[in-house]
């Protein structure tokens, strides 16, 4: 049993439910995120079964009408971005790791941290409640463009969209609170000796993601308030008949929406940046270069948003400037990707499960990254906009950070969180199954998109080009892949539960890693560090010449 810093015992409710301990809060976000991931995954199952067999009832769900299909598509996207990717990558990883990695006892504002989780929890309840209200859940796409979302006369349901707006607004509030906590903690609560450029890259990435979120979400909060008022107070912000402008919402949405994808990507890259050095026994290549590239990515992400609106009715002369800024982002991302690869060069690589998922993240993300060029070039986007080409692109861009990198992080830090090791063979099975089925699911969608398959349609057979044997084969392939992806999670969930209960004891530092979290017991006690650590060097001093050990912890005296 690990040593606890506190003498006083805590009751059940204080310790496990209304806890201010960042580690417990992280687990609460983790549990909620995993629950929502299963929900979002089951929604994907319904979508894919419907597309493979349009018009037929979906096994396990039943008959599917068009409104329900649109609602499922909408909620799948909404849940995966706001209730899976963000809680898992930012809130769970960030909360658990930031204080431990910088040598702090907890976050700067522990009570605010607790408030942020419970705000998030309430937002989750409201969102799930929206499935059960009269009229059903929101069904206008996760982007919720007005006028469709601006009034029930167009979208059919009154409560679904309204609750969706409230849930998203509360989620934003929760993550703003969390973000302020992360930023303040990383800036102000580092252990003595840890300069900013001695922070692990995971902390840098969480810091950058939090800052990007903080600066980008405001206009959408304003836009969401206006949408809500259009619905409930008969204002006309987005109603052309009342002098309003539907395209305004799109600007407000995407000014946030684009930086948001980097908010999701960055922590994923952070996990990879921590894992590659440990499993190559080599420093990360170009630490400062990666930090600067991250900052440039963050800044650039604010000036690309209209690439989601090339043909939306904006002045067409804006398209080329936005195309230029958009594909420029490929440069800092390439810097980070190539630096990761350079880390492998002349390393001593061990392909344990965390490393497999980290490498898999890079390999799969490359597909999403290069197809970003297609989508980001206005002339090319004319055809592929709002087709399955885009759907394939963003799944190839978002699944690597939200799932591959996140899972890499789970396998890597599970020993620290639980004190036990996960099962290696099950982990390898999980990885190879996911890697295979990921491609089986989403590669066909590029083809379907090029064939002209538009988004968010319940019955592709209605359109001649999509009512062919070839199209049907592609749909079936994607559906098989999706079911495979879902089933791939079974070995993982079994592994997670079994290892937490019966896995081999991990000890303090099973991976022989340098960062501070590995210098405390597994799991860490309340307060994390018996004594405030002193930091003497950066996080990636592996295989330092003339040293016996191939690792050199940050807090080990020279």
């Amino acid at each position: 049993m690990s040593a606890t810093i506190h003498a006083h015992p805590q009751g059940f409710w204080r310790k496990y439910v209304f806890s201010t301990d960042h580690k417990t809060i992280a687990k609460q976000y983790l549990a909620t995120g995993i629950f929502m991931a299963i929900t979002g995954g089951l929604l994907a199952y319904v979508i894919r079964m419907n597309l493979a067999h349009p018009g037929q009832p979906v096994p396990g769900y039943g008959a599917l009408n068009f409104t329900a299909y649109n609602a499922i598509v909408t909620m799948h996207g909404t849940i995966m971005i706001f209730w899976v990717a963000m809680p898992l990558l930012l809130a769970a990883l960030g909360n658990f790791l930031i204080p431990l990695m910088i040598g702090a006892a907890d976050m700067a504002f522990p009570r605010l941290n607790m408030l942020s989780f419970w705000t998030f929890f309430v937002s989750t309840v409201i969102l799930l409640a929206s499935f059960f209200v009269p009229g059903g859940a929101a069904a206008g796409g996760w982007t919720s463009y007005p006028p469709l979302s601006g009034s029930a006369i167009y979208s059919g349901g009154q409560w679904g969209v309204t609750l969706w707006i409230l849930a998203v607004a509360l989620e934003f509030a929760a993550f703003l609170m969390g973000g302020i906590n992360f930023i303040t903690t990383a800036i102000n609560n580092r252990a003595p000796g840890m300069k900013l450029f001695d922070m692990p890259l995971m902390v840098w990435m969480q810091l950058a993601a939090s800052i990007i979120f903080l600066f980008s979400v405001g206009p959408l909060i304003a836009g969401a308030v206006m949408l809500l008022l259009d619905r409930v107070a008969d204002t006309g912000f987005y109603n052309p008949a009342r002098g309003g402008d539907p395209v305004l919402f799109q600007h407000l949405f995407w000014f946030f929406g684009h930086p948001e994808v980097y908010v999701i990507l960055l922590p994923g890259l952070g996990a990879v940046a921590e894992i590659l050095p440990v499993f190559s026994r080599k420093p990360i290549f170009g630490y400062r270069m990666i930090v600067y590239a991250t900052i440039i990515t963050g800044v650039l992400s604010f000036i690309v948003w209209a690439h989601h609106q090339f043909i939306a009715g904006i002045d067409p002369r804006l398209a080329t400037p936005f195309s230029i800024t958009t594909i420029l982002i490929s440069v800092p991302i390439a810097i980070i990707t190539f630096s990761f690869m350079a880390t492998l060069w002349k390393g001593s690589i061990e392909l344990k499960t965390p490393m497999l998922f980290a490498l898999g993240m890079i390999a799969v993300f490359l597909v999403g990254g290069v197809t970003g060029i297609h989508n980001g070039t206005a002339a090319a986007d004319i055809y592929i906009h709002d087709t399955y080409f885009v759907v394939a692109h963003f799944h190839y861009a978002l699944i690597p950070p939200a799932f591959f990198a996140f899972l890499a992080a789970v396998y890597y830090w599970f020993p620290k969180v639980s004190g036990r090791m996960m099962n290696e063979p099950l982990g390898q099975l999980h990885f190879w199954a996911m890697f295979t089925f990921m491609n089986v699911t989403f590669l066909p969608m590029f083809v379907l998109g090029l064939m002209g398959h538009q988004r968010r349609i319940a019955n592709p057979h209605n359109f001649a080009a999509l009512n062919t044997p070839f199209a049907d084969e592609l749909q079936l392939l994607a559906t098989i892949g999706a079911i495979g992806l879902l089933l791939s999670q079974v070995p993982f969930l079994v592994n997670l539960v079994w290892s937490a209960l019966r896995g081999p004891v991990a000890g303090e530092n099973p991976w022989r890693a340098n960062t501070l979290e590995w210098s405390v017991p597994s799991p860490p006690g309340h307060g994390n560090f018996e004594k405030v650590p002193t930091v003497y060097r950066g996080p990636y001093e592996y295989s330092v010449p003339d040293r016996k050990d191939d690792w050199f912890p940050q807090n080990a005296p020279a």
């Binding site: 810093i5 702090a104 302020i180 903080l214 600066f215 206009p219 206006m226 204002t235």
Partner: protein
């Protein structure tokens, strides 16, 4: 929740800036983008709708001007409260926090009076986009005034018991922000024609 490790951390801050002040400034950054988005949207619309000047003439300039004075004065008393903390005079600080609270109350009462009058006259949010913006922007601002007042009340209660005097500065920074937002809203909604 303080323990030995954490107490040392409070002394061992990595920058010269106290953690509370750092947190408040980042919070304000997020608020600036929220109000900024709303205000920028309003300005873009206003530019394209010169005829809104006719509607805007129906805002009660005198009330707006009075409220501007009230908020500025309450910011002054807030500064005095902070100064009093610096001098160690916590009861003086508490008194000035009370005056600041009073300013907030007066502001909200005037706002309520304005809303009631405007609604009676038929200038409701649905009447025109100008009024939609007017109620949204002043309403959001009023909610922030209310939130600020709650925070000030909490800090006031603590200061009366001699606790957490550093929070006077933090709540003061927030209150000044609420004041600055109003300085933008007043000319944009009341004076511009």
């Amino acid at each position: 929740m303080a323990n030995a490790t954490r107490a040392e951390h409070i002394l061992n801050e990595s920058t010269e800036v106290p953690t509370g002040r750092l947190g408040i400034w980042w919070f304000l950054a997020s608020e600036v983008v929220i109000f900024g988005g709303l205000i920028a949207t309003y300005i873009l619309f206003r530019w394209r709708h010169h005829e809104w000047g006719v509607e805007a003439a129906n805002t009660i300039n005198a009330a707006g001007a009075f409220n501007t004075l009230v908020l500025l004065t309450s910011s002054l008393t807030m500064v005095l409260a902070h100064a009093a903390v610096g001098e160690g005079k916590l009861d003086k600080a508490a008194r000035n926090l009370g005056f600041t609270l009073l300013g907030g109350v007066i502001f909200l009462c005037v706002k309520a009076f304005e809303y009631a009058h405007e609604i009676r006259e038929g200038f409701v949010p649905a009447r025109s986009l100008f009024w939609s913006f007017y109620y949204t922007m002043t309403g959001l601002h009023a909610l922030h005034v209310l939130g600020g007042m709650v925070a000030i009340a909490v800090v006031l209660a603590a200061v009366r018991k001699g606790r957490a005097p550093q929070r006077v500065e933090y709540v003061g920074i927030y209150w000044h922000f609420v004041d600055v937002v109003w300085i933008f809203l007043f000319p944009l909604l009341y004076l511009a024609h």
